[in-house]
Assembly symmetry: D2
Homo-oligomer: 339 residues x 4
């Protein structure tokens, strides 16, 4: 068995890692840290794991060495922990924002803080299986994209790579409340957040930097919180180049994603669920990608579960690739309908 | 104009008082206190009031004298403030739990704290217009019932008063999240509270003491949080006495509530909304009351908006009675459908 | 009293008209039609009106003459009924799509059907108080804008009128389920629609024609259904002209809306509800409008209740203007918080 | 591989069977019927199965013979199909109400229709693994309990079996909208059903007959629809016999369920999710059971996913037992948190 540890196991991404790793047939979950909850059973925080584990949270400095370590802590905390973690981890998978942007200046501009470990940036491979699969087979440090970034990258990359659109694009993200994390705050109280359509980033959402880096496009990104716990949807608009009509666009998506285990092309002429919808993806590792075109315009739509393909599931998919296991191992849950 | 002040205007009940009093044609809202937010505009906390007022919160000790003062603070805080407020208020309307129970021993048993002003208990008239209308015309101190208590009292009182049921009854309350108040807590985070069916009081919900006092019945009460922001529904079961069938029960409700401006009897044989449902009552001062019977059993169902007929609206109705205004003044909003 | 009739009173817009007209102090609601439900009480369909009326639906041909008639029927039906209604209505207020577009060719392109009464198009005044207030004082035929169109027009008009943006804009609408109407359909079942983020118009939403006509801009519009019953939000992106920064934009909005009774400018630097959110507008006639700017871009955001300022409330506001009553008569409900 | 067919695969229970059977390692899903949708791909109706199957619906009379046949059709339809299906099914698993009640007179009383195949009633074994595990190993005809019945039976059986409570009990069920099925109806429209607390069975819910039969208790049962798509919770009240206090009750539940793979005892003194909550069970086969006691009273609470442990998952668990496979095969999904 491959031994793994999760650092920062009390949050929502951390909890999702625990769910997936406890159900993974090749993995032994050896340790889970939480500074705040050390000594408590992990199923008191993640009640869906009752009956699946007797593990307790430990302090981070109680960690040993493991075949893989997942880092599920806040940005800034991650870049402080990574240097010390490298020696304990055969493969280190970071889920924070700290090692996603190759340029520390861009990081500083979007995160309002100086990067404290810029010398380590080059060592990370993007946790983006659809594009970096080969590199991930050998990677010892992996940086998993942000949730809305992953959706935006999967939606836009085929259009950019095939030269079907002009470089200026807009990305409009709609997100559920779990993206705000497990820490309490007045604006996330149920009575305030329920039924919301809350534009929390009218301009310059942080993930636009990641999508721009990944696609070479110039991205303007907004984000709105809507009523959902899990789920991200991005709606992207681009100006079509001359050659791009609906048929060209469909071919591009099929070429890129036809063999992908976790990306489905969803763009139907009729029926329910014609375009990607996150609610039927809750708990699954799918990113559904769809599109529409009219003369001069292409729109791309993607949906995923922010805690799975937008975080923990994507991280496990990367580990599967790294260890040479079938890529869907431990990630077979297809999502529910209705739900 | 009648001058009024609201003490504790930053919470959800407080905010609802402000909405109703700002729209009340006979009232001038003269002062609103909040220790924590003194100096800030009240519409920063209650954004639905933008454009309706320029008032700012003040410290409680900045209060003057007013024709009426509404006390919308937590229990325990209320019993400490009431002695000092009596002199400033022509009429004092307390919305806390502190002056609802006539017996300080019962208070201590249900609230786990000694009553600090038991000598004042006798001076309060229950803020229950349907039963104490005459007394309210002269009352200078009014104690408004709890939200689920109000629903339970209106559901059960006609059955008790007419001797239609045996004294042992059960009350099962379902409540929205606004009943937990505006203070943040992890269990009230949207991601945790959304879609919940959370039995937070499997037995001995505090309001059973109020309903028992009001009806003379022996009450066993539970409460479950369900997905809603506003709204309370109670489902009450009683053993029918020999004379009670559906027709007898219907007559009892009609006799008690046929002329009431804010209680509607809702028990239809078919169609939508056959029994009381809180969602069409949001913002309205109605309590809808329904019932069903089979041999040996009577069930009573009531629904209301916990912040209106279960709190602020009921308080304003009491003030209307006290001042001799038409009872519906400022309380005309009928509720929405669909919503 | 001014007598009014509502034609098509069984739908959601119709029901909202009934709520507002029954609460309107200057109006007598004289007749409500429904072909399907003729003979039944209107409160069986609209349970929030229990206790407010004993009216029953009548057949359309039972109508007499009224000071005002509101037409709340589907598009296509409206253009067939209008010619016959003109004689019965001192003032005819149509809430359908049929008389909104001045150009019958544009109508045909967006609604896939030929216009059957193009000769009447010129006779209608747009039911857009903020821009056509003077004309509405004399108007005998009024065509109320579509719900997302109203939001888009109020969001974009100041930018267009002041020349602050380039003519190509995008509008992204998010809508609740009541916009689909009261007719059952599988995709609108609760189990399917709950928690949805459903792109139902990836391109060319019909209301783009109205917004283009109203603002002179070239509009590309999409729409996504999100979890809510009531509520519309539009997020609009435009390329800023040289002179447009945040301060210029703020001034433009203030100039246009500073004196408007039902448009509030909502764009705060911090706190909750910084930008327009429909949930606190349910039942109210407000349209909240906000904005943000970065170099080269302006975004405008608007929110409203699709059944009120996006339909029935706006229609009543037009009637108030037409009859010379204070514009807020019968429209005083401010919305709820929390909700 | 064991071949299976699903009769009635277009509904919500049917779809859930398809999800579970497609993911089951020992089973080959050979045929799925739908009279209405014959010829269409099953993933057009169940979009969560995109990428998991290319199967199409077939007519019922296209069926061959299979090791197991699951019948997921409406009651009344089931009792007409069962006689013809017996020959085609090595093991027939019926998910309708038609073969749950041993007494055809009770069936007629609760379902308002005469039983058409009373001679077959004796041949069915209840699909209740926790009680009939031994019989299920040999059963060729299995009748799966109703969703709220399963919850009520698991909640109450230990109390009844150990003689801890008096025979008169009440069961109050709260249910999500998927229990109403996939057929459209006005009351199930999102705009009507959203945020509901709808008492649809104030008395005599049909499942009381099943719970009574299973436990020997006299059951009075009500049901209320609340906001959720999946999920059932039952809250049961009983009068304690002399020997029953909280400790006795806890021991009874532990004795009955301590070794059960899909029943967890959930009754904690503090923390979140202290009592059973359906939302963390969506998609899982767990039934969580909790309890509380005060002098003279015991309450039992149970929660499950109505489509899984309340239907399809329970049916698969029965098949696992019948075929001698590990009981959790294909049922490993633990549920999500948050969700």
């Amino acid at each position: 068995m491959t031994t793994v540890a999760v650092v920062g196991g009390s949050g929502y991404i951390g909890g999702e890692l625990l769910r997936l790793l406890l159900g993974h047939p090749e993995v032994e979950l050896a340790a889970v840290t939480s500074t705040r909850l050390a000594g408590r059973r992990i199923d008191t925080t993640h009640p869906n794991l009752r009956g699946h584990t007797d593990l307790k949270f430990v302090e981070p400095d109680a960690l040993d060495k493991y075949d893989a370590v997942f880092l599920a802590v806040a940005h800034r905390t991650a870049m402080r922990m990574v240097p010390g973690m490298v020696a304990r981890a055969g493969c280190l998978v970071d889920l924070s924002a700290d090692f996603r942007l190759r340029d520390s200046g861009v990081y500083q501009r979007y995160y309002d803080t100086e990067h404290e470990a810029p010398q380590l940036l080059d060592g990370f491979t993007p946790g983006w299986p659809e594009r970096y699969r080969e590199q991930l087979r050998e990677a010892d440090r992996i940086s998993v994209p942000g949730c809305t970034a992953m959706a935006g990258m999967l939606a836009l990359y085929p259009l950019a790579a095939e030269g079907l659109v002009e470089p200026d694009v807009t990305v409009d993200a709609r997100t559920g409340s779990s993206g705000s994390g497990a820490a309490a705050g007045n604006v996330n109280l149920h009575a305030e957040r329920s039924g919301a359509m809350r534009v929390f980033a009218p301009l310059r959402h942080r993930h636009e930097a990641e999508i721009a880096q990944a696609t070479g496009l110039r991205v303007r990104m907004s984000a709105t919180g809507v009523e959902a716990v899990r789920g991200v949807q991005v709606y992207c608009r681009a100006t079509a180049k001359d050659n791009a009509d609906e048929s060209t666009v469909r071919q591009a998506y099929r070429r890129h994603y036809g063999d992908e285990p976790f990306v489905r092309v969803v763009a139907y002429r009729s029926g329910g669920y014609r375009y990607p919808e996150p609610k039927i993806l809750s708990g699954s590792n799918y990113c559904d990608v769809g599109f529409a075109a009219e003369p001069g315009q292409v729109v791309a739509i993607a949906a995923l579960d922010n805690l799975v393909k937008g975080g923990a599931g994507n991280a496990v998919q990367c580990l599967n690739i790294r260890r040479g296991w079938p890529e869907t191992t431990g990630l077979g849950f297809p999502g529910l309908h209705p739900v």
